[in-house]
Symmetry: C2
Subunit: 389 residues, 2 copies
């Protein structure tokens, strides 16, 4: 199989990307605009539009390697198939919150989806101080719907095991296992932080209680097969506007702990609470609303769909509680790894050094609190109260 893949796989250029679309019948012999807009680290991303047409296409091709901060390592192009399977599945479950899916070519690792460039990337919009009042509702519904229907509450046992097989994703899980749950917590070469943070970081590495709790969270990431999670749901994976929300890039998807998705998006919104000077409350309210909408939507779906014996209310409540306890832990890991690990966030990195150091220290401290006290904090409402103090 892999030999065939290597033979047929060929990197697209702007020209071959257009002819690929033409051969599929999505473009006639029109004059086209084509721009490569990927960052070149993981994927080639071509934005293609017939001149005069309003909506275009994205032709995305996985590269057989990953580049992050100068480092480069080989990376399976099978992730393109995982991604396209997830986009297709999301389109069946909740099409309003994902790009339209047009085509996938497994051997060439190419996926064709709707062009969403008329929308903002959520992270960039938030940094500019934009407001997206519908975002919490949309994200809460997206999470509840995709996670419910791929959990044991909403999927048959056979379907759930099929999902586990389809989304067996060792290479991309490995990245998360390392970058989120391991490297930031010891003196790993992959870490990257300001010299001025050395003492604070050393405290994290020396904190035995923290080390144990992070190890437990990592073990949970390995063992909890609760639902098909997106597994890379940060604010750079969401396109948005005042009326629309679209979740993209599910190449990390696998059947894993629900709390990972819940925690990752919350953590990435939290960076705004630490970095912005005004309208912090808007973000805090969003966090709480995502939790509320998620719990309500998940509960409503559960009422309609769940069969004996999982149809016991106490089971639902315990499950939701556990999702959020995990989420608080993941928030802690994500806050810490985005501050001192390999991959940082623009929200924080764009601050001038002096303020960045102050902000990072607060973020790190709060991250540690989340990890250690997740069983006391238990939910986002309590967590945001800790931040208001």
């Amino acid at each position: 199989m892999s030999i065939t893949q290597e033979k047929k796989y060929k990197s697209l250029t702007e020209e071959t990307a257009i002819s690929f679309l033409q051969q599929l019948g999505y473009l006639e012999n029109e004059v086209c605009e084509c721009v490569e807009i990927g960052d070149g680290n993981l994927n080639l991303v071509f934005q293609i539009k017939a001149v005069g047409k309003e909506k275009g296409y994205i032709v995305k091709q996985a590269l057989p390697y990953a580049k992050v901060v100068g480092e480069s390592w080989p990376l399976t192009i099978k992730r393109a198939t995982i991604e396209s399977q997830a986009i297709e599945l999301y389109n069946k479950l909740i099409p309003e919150f994902v790009p339209k899916f047009y085509h996938h070519d497994e051997e060439q690792a190419i996926t064709v989806i709707e062009d969403l460039s008329d929308l903002d990337i959520l992270r960039k919009g938030l940094i500019l101080g934009e407001s997206y009042p519908l975002l919490p509702k949309h994200i809460g519904e997206f999470l509840a719907t995709t996670l419910f229907y791929t959990s044991d509450f909403g999927a048959s046992p056979a379907r759930k095991k099929e999902l586990e097989k389809l989304f067996n994703n060792p290479e991309l899980c490995d990245i998360t296992e390392g970058l989120v749950f391991t490297d930031p917590f010891f003196n790993s070469e992959t870490n990257n932080f300001e010299d001025e943070l050395k003492n604070v970081v050393q405290e994290i590495w020396d904190d035995e209680e923290l080390q144990v709790e992070v190890a437990k969270l990592k073990l949970g990431f390995f063992t909890k097969k609760e639902a098909l999670i997106h597994a890379d749901l940060h604010t750079g994976s969401i396109f948005t506007s005042s009326s629309e929300t679209k979740v993209i890039d599910p190449e990390f998807a696998f059947v894993g702990p629900v709390g990972f998705d819940l925690g990752q998006i919350q953590a990435n919104l939290l960076f705004q609470v630490f970095t912005r000077l005004e309208n912090k409350k808007e973000i805090l309210d969003s966090l709480v609303e995502i939790e509320k909408v998620f719990n309500e939507t998940f509960t409503n779906l559960w009422k309609e769909h769940t069969e004996y014996p999982l149809n016991k209310k106490a089971v639902l409540h315990t499950t939701l509680d556990n999702y959020w306890i995990d989420a608080i832990g993941v928030i802690g890991c994500e806050l810490i790894r985005r501050s001192i690990g390999l991959a940082h966030v623009e929200d924080v990195e764009s601050l001038p050094l002096a303020r960045r150091l102050v902000v990072k220290k607060r973020i790190l401290q709060f991250g540690v609190t989340c990890i250690k006290n997740r069983f006391k904090i238990r939910n986002i409402e309590t967590l945001t109260r800790e931040l208001e103090v």
Copy 2:
């Protein structure tokens, strides 16, 4: 694939079983004895021996259906591949406690292994009052070794995910999900119990607290991917003697909760505590010794093999505690389902009616206690003290 399988698949007879072995070169043109010793419910099992040779072979072929108590339903023959993969893996990990593996034919669903008929089936031996002093040590070591090396403590993340894919076993999991965690707890047609137990059984079906706890255990069976478990480790799946122990029949194997294996073997030994009139203490001591040997062996393996960040002692302790809490819950489910569900055990069924009813009531009551109080009981030593009272 499935079309090909149907075409090539052909049930063996005593004659074709012999020629199958001859073609593989395991037998020359010797005079052979061949007896079909399967119970005909799931598999054909041929015991084949060249006349005059001491050791023979077992040629086991999966049937494309399952028959239990008169009912018959189609069942994938892929389970033969799962079983042979597990036997091969066990042979690498701890060959002294499993039959030798010779050959597997996927299309014909045939596995050739060592003949163990010189040993006793543990359940039958225990019913006859035999003692197997080395059994607890062997079973504890078998469990600790096979479970450790297929858990996240002993397997690399990539290897663990490969195991999840190789042992994706929806059809056989479905049987366990139904027969152990669902059917005995409501008025299912599959249940089978004495009329005189109606009131006691109705109490189980009406017990809301119990219903919730069983649902949580079932959810755990769905979601906890802790290690490759045997998943059918009762006393009929173990051959034994005063010096040897061999675990057979891992066709239910999948990556699931460690507590399932721990609990299932303990429950099946417990039936002897309820049914025998003397030497109960011997069985109770065995239960405690299995736990002790398991914990010690697992801990020793963990010390040598586990990498950062799972190498924290507190993580090991929490994990072992959780395994045994799950195990206590599984003991409860297994005790109940073997008493009133579809598949019973000879230990109990061979008792005369009057005594059987008394014994079953005690078993059911104790099963309920285990499920409800597993977080208080926590380990086998405490559990056996409850029984001595």
